[in-house]
Amino acid sequence: MINIFEVNETNNMIEHENLDVRTITLGISLLDCIDSDVDKVCENIYNKITTVAKDLVATGQEIEKEYGIPIVNKRISITPAAIVGGAACKTPDDFVKIAQTLDKAAKKVGVNFLGGFSALVSKGMTKADELLIRSIPKALATTDFVCSSINVGSTKTGLNMDAVKLMGEIVLETAELTKDNDCLGCAKLVVFCNAPDDNPFMAGAFHGVTEADAIINVGVSGPGVVKTAIEKTKGENFEVLCETIKKTAFKITRVGQLVAQEASRRLGIPFGIIDLSLAPTPAIGDSVADILKGIGLEHPGAPGTTAALALLNDQVKKGGVMASSYVGGLSGAFIPVSEDQGMIDAVNAGALTLEKLEAMTCVCSVGLDMIAIPGDTKATTISGVIADEAAIGMINQKTTAVRVIPVIGKKVGEVVEFGGLLGYAPIMPVNSFSCDEFVNRGGRIPAPIHSFKN
């Protein structure tokens, strides 16, 4: 039988170390909503989402209450909207209409984000894909909860450089259209390489076409728990450190597995995957950067950071995989800047640069995340950053992503405030040498060879 020490350990994690289930994300296929009339598509989408997800929030709250574990977010992911709206949408404004419908449905069911205003264009863009991409700035400026993601490359297909070029422009335009709101639109826009079909985390969640009609995916978290655990290993060797992270990850993930199974049972919707990510929040102690410091770095960005992050990521997976029946999504440590107080401190201390962050993304999920850059950054420069990050993903067969926020009217050293889980961020310098000719070439970078790994 359970004893008092085990009960106290669990409750300490929840009360003092910010253990929570970060999100229950309900994936909903909208393939059966397709129609050739845009108003009909919108009606179908609204009806399907508000029917399938009607009990999601209440069920989440019920589980929170019964187990005493906070479930921070309840969210929805949908089939990439470019596919759903492909037959009906003839202009970007048609896609904006779909985005607004999604927003309305999200508000109706009470979720705090809905992901899947997406297009998968890793090899080429259909007309609908391009219309959706061009509608993104207005769609994100006129909605509150809709998140957008574009997959511009994969290990199997190479990189679609036309899409990369276009996305640089779109990111900038999204910033411009939401500049009165701290360019918040860009916080809801991710550019992926090797995007997973079952990611529960925003802003990159969408419900892939390989998925069932509806599915429950759960994202666990708990950087604070890992940090507290490794504080007790100070001075110990790597074996002790790694074992500690692994065991802690196991415990954290078990809670996610329980919540996922319960949510699945109560909603009558199959369980998909657990995403084993360490997702920080701006709350003190809920920081991946603090884990890196606990491993022995003065600040993230110091030499050794990439190695520390690599071992952290790997141990989290090793512990988590055994704790859950199905693992998927992004599964790794997130290193967003604005959402992690320790990362913000490292940037302010001059320890962490964009280039070091890029190196760190080679060994963890997901990529350059929630990084504020000067508003006068050129579109081609943003495309260049996207191309670099996508290339890392393509060659290393992993998911990478870029979510940068060009803050219109602000310069390096100034601060932008997003609020809530999105936090705040110091604006970081971007290498200003030109990559115009590279980006403007157009076409595709061919898929990489899978031998001669050097």
Partner: protein, 90 residues
């Protein structure tokens, strides 16, 4: 049978167990096990109970027990046992 875990943490004072147990008895909740320790002057108790015969919904029962805690100045949590089994038992 699903078990429920009740934990009480707070400054030690007269009648904590009595008040909680009275509520449990009034609501047909059977106590299966009690353990308690004092950690750094703090009263620390865990009860394993069977709430199968309780007429109230879990949320309502939990709120009422937590309210008792507030009244006597201790923190009481009521949770389904599964979360602890999941984390500590393979």
């Amino acid at each position: 049978m699903k078990k429920t875990i009740i934990t009480v943490v707070g400054k030690d004072t007269v009648g904590i167990i009595a008040k909680v147990c009275t509520y449990l008895a009034d609501n047909k909740i059977n106590i299966l096990d009690i353990s308690q320790t004092i950690v750094q002057d703090y009263f620390n108790m865990m009860m394993i109970v069977d709430a199968g015969k309780c007429d109230k919904k879990f949320g309502e029962m939990a709120d009422e027990i937590e309210k008792i805690g507030e009244d006597i100045g201790v923190q009481i949590k009521v949770q389904q046992e599964d979360i602890f089994n999941s984390m500590h038992r393979i």
